[in-house]
Subunit: 319 residues, 2 copies
């Protein structure tokens, strides 16, 4: 767990969740660049419009959960463990437009965002103190967003977080016993069965996973084995952008533009290429509220079988 006392100053913390502000000042809009911390990266895509100074911007989170400065210290406190909060917490503003949904951006614009994610991971992976980079997007108040303007976030961590570690270990175990990648096995079975396929293109397949914890959860896998997202070519990321837009647009149509979380699950930093890890994107519409049971058990109750979700999403058009 990350204890980040400085974040308590964040206006949205510590009261009932408040909806993203609309109509007020937006620090992510063009012209307000001085309202954000120093820029780490700025890109301008070929299809940017005349007046656009940038298409994608990256800067540190104003209320960072982790900081780049300082030495990495691991220590015991009695029977407890502590590790210093070294890392990075960045914001990726995905478009200069305040009112366009990420999934409705042009193919080159979405591709640029996916390349920026890759390039930030590659840059951060040179820091030997870091063990894992999590990239995620919270869209809508119910999904944890505090600002409406489309953006994603990046957390670079000094340790692999528990649930990622458990999954990587499960992949390692499967590899040791079978000498096959667990995700490749899943992809093969899903393509044979077909019932949980949401969309399939040349290089990516989107599925509603077996025993999905939440309704309409979608995983997007590269069909060819690949352990690390940051090894992706521009060409592969253009294919991913196409698959991701289709999935987001289908979900937007099916569930009337739901709040959602988008997460990259990838291998350990500098740990690849690995035969047992296989990166993916997860798109999780925030259509249910978790309660005490889910919190305590890690087990979710899902009233929408993934087979039903996939059948519905296959039928629904992308915009």
């Amino acid at each position: 767990m990350i204890i980040a006392a400085e974040r308590a100053a964040r206006p949205s913390d510590f009261s009932a969740p408040s909806p993203p502000q609309e109509g007020g000042f937006c620090p992510f809009c063009p012209g307000n660049e001085s309202a954000t911390p120093h820029e780490i990266l700025r890109r301008r895509t070929a299809d940017a419009e005349g007046g656009d100074a940038w298409s994608v911007r990256v800067f540190p989170n104003r209320y960072p959960a982790l900081r780049v400065e300082g030495e990495l210290v691991r220590s015991a406190h009695g029977i407890f463990d502590r590790i210093s909060g070294v890392g990075a917490h960045e914001v990726i503003v995905e478009t200069p437009r305040h009112d366009v949904a990420f999934g409705d951006l042009s193919l080159p614009a979405v591709s640029e965002v996916l390349r920026v994610w890759r390039d930030r991971i590659l840059d951060l992976s040179r820091d030997e103190r870091l063990a894992y980079v999590s990239i995620f997007k919270n869209q809508g108040a119910a999904a944890g967003a505090t600002l409406a303007h489309e953006h994603s976030q990046l957390l670079a961590l000094p340790t692999v977080p528990r649930d990622v570690e458990l999954e990587l270990q499960a992949g390692d175990d499967h590899w040791r016993r079978k000498e096959r990648c667990l995700s490749c096995d899943v992809i093969r079975q899903e393509r044979e069965e077909g019932v949980r396929i949401v969309h399939e293109g040349e290089r990516f397949v989107a599925i509603a996973p077996w025993a999905s914890p939440t309704p309409f959860l979608v995983w997007i896998f590269p069909k060819a084995h690949a352990s690390h997202y940051e090894s992706s070519s521009d060409d592969l990321l253009a294919s991913l952008a196409s698959a991701l837009r289709i999935v987001l647009q289908k979900l937007g149509t099916a569930l009337e533009d739901p709040a959602y979380n988008l997460v990259l699950v990838s291998g350990r930093l500098r740990g690849g290429p690995s035969p047992s890890a296989h990166w993916r994107l997860e798109v999780a519409p925030a259509v249910t509220t978790s309660g005490g049971f889910e919190r305590a058990s890690g087990c979710w109750i899902n009233s929408t079988p993934p087979e039903d979700a996939a059948a519905f999403l296959r039928k629904v058009p992308s915009r």
Copy 2:
């Protein structure tokens, strides 16, 4: 994960979370008993008022995630695993009063609820198909409640859910290496340090746990080692009721009656007494919304150090 397609009929599912209904018909109020499924148990405490026919009622959830009927079948589906949805899903209405908070009920009334929890676990533990009973309470819409009238829920499961199993295994590992209970070690260190103690009575101690995932999380432990909640005497549960009321009232004062989850974490059914498991109650105010990072990593970012939460809660009066 539990796939419960029948629950899709539940009115609150599948749209944005809606607040608990107020002012309308309440199926949990006295006089509306016929609106609930058949009663499993009914209790009347000594301090019930004249007109009260009952103090606590238990019946099956109308939209059950699991059902008592049927054979327990474990099967493989290609590389996936399936287990039939055998179990129980019950509702415990904790008071006949529609508008009284659980933590403001009388000591005998709270004690009766805690005895009903125990008695339901004891009854269900005779069913050899069941492996674990989770008891939890969602209070307030932000905590997953769909009805405002105070109630808790019980899920009896054919398998120990993942996060409980991981914790029980961690306890087993600690016992094998040290021949000490991990929770007893935690309790000892917390009592020595004092900084994370929220409240301490003769038989129970309430702490804000080290590296709490969420703000103002409180664990209530029996100070004497005990692996299974259902082995508790009436006397011990009266002490627990006292500690729980103090914690709930302190949280109510500190956070202005927050939505919260209350969860019992206990040992495997028929697995005790065990030297390595130690039951507890968790009270988790729902003051933050989780996002994609928490979802994918199992790691939470908490801006309120447990030491600060405990210091604040120690000062705040219980009502």
